[in-house]
Subunit: 220 residues, 2 copies
């Protein structure tokens, strides 16, 4: 089975890549240059794809112009500090990012003869991101089954897992977490204080897996 | 009510623009530069938006690289001649084009405070295009209602109309059809022989509305 995987360069999609490979799937990565402040994640995505020996396509997606209302698509909106699940994190939400990415990945899947598209939405995302919730996943599944002559299947196997579960699962399969990047501030070192950094560190701690990340700030 | 309208520069979306304006809606057009062979349609879209005095955003969408399997996204695949509903027209299908465009339009709607996204899928498209059929429209409606904090409504009011119905309706509202462009061959004059030209001419004839188009070939 051939699957097009949304690979951001973060922990979750990297774990999903090794997970799918361990299942014997043929994986092709798709990554997006969408004007994100944390464009450094694309270097991580390239490194992960190379390390896992999977083909990768990097696609431009002009969300910075279409939807400049997020701290991640506008340099004029500062990145909030704090916990990922906090209400203050709403400003990090890029409107409809997942539907845009899944749609483009689906186009690529149809054109390249893949049966599935996979993304690593997880339980920790539900509080803030509508487009990571089970109801959204089910609705996307349906529309992806109808958009072409043959249905494209949507795989979101981490939708009910916590980030700590994902770290544990990824570590088990040898995911190259040291190559990944999550920080929303987008500097060379992970800042350690933004929502994604706090969540990242917490996930490794809870999973009891060594965190290979160098953080700028030691405490959140 | 504010609506983001997919404006291709063809007959259907131009008719829908005047239709929505006649209903008193605030309309903003979104058009896509997706590597289409018939990129000339974008000039038409600009002229229509200007004529109707509606703001327009033109967005790059790299379907030519993601999905180069259509005569419209690859210069190496010739445009078939004949009737739009013919099986031979399948090669003109750009994989998942509508879901990609609706997703990006939805992102823009969320970011700009619009309540609706509209597109002019019609009955004549059903035979060839899975992403114009009612089942797809219903499924998209659902996912667009779930992708953000507030639902975005999908308007596809022409889904049950023929192209002749649309011409009649558009003419009634004064749609500037003379500014529109439909030809898949993409030359300065409408070729008159490709599926979209055949369908365009047929629609004006059936509607009994003067066809303002100069065609290269007089017979299909």
């Amino acid at each position: 089975m051939k699957t097009v995987l949304l690979l951001s360069g973060g922990i979750d999609s990297t774990a999903l890549a090794v997970d799918l490979l361990a299942q014997g799937q043929q994986v092709e990565a798709i990554s997006f240059d969408y004007g994100q402040r944390h464009v450094r994640e694309l270097e991580a995505a390239r490194a992960v794809a190379q390390c896992l020996n999977i083909p990768q396509i990097v696609v431009a997606l002009d969300l910075a112009r279409i939807a400049p209302t997020s701290s991640q698509t506008s340099r004029e909106i500062p990145v909030p500090k704090g916990h990922y699940a906090d209400e203050s994190m709403r400003i990090t939400v890029v409107p409809n990012r997942n539907m845009c990415m899944l749609s483009l990945a689906t186009a690529h899947a149809i054109a390249s003869g893949a049966e599935c598209v996979a993304y690593a939405a997880h339980k920790g995302d539900h509080a803030i991101y509508p487009d990571c919730r089970p109801a959204f996943v089910y609705a996307m599944e349906k529309v992806m089954a109808l958009c072409d002559y043959e249905p494209i299947r949507l795989l979101a196997p981490y939708a009910a897992l916590s980030k700590a579960d994902i770290v544990l699962r990824g570590a088990n399969f040898g995911a190259p977490f040291a190559l990944t990047y999550s920080c929303y501030a987008g500097e060379a070192l992970h800042c350690g204080a933004c929502g994604t950094c706090v969540e990242r560190r917490e996930a490794f701690q809870r999973a009891g897996v060594l965190d290979p990340t160098a953080y700028e700030a030691v405490t959140a």
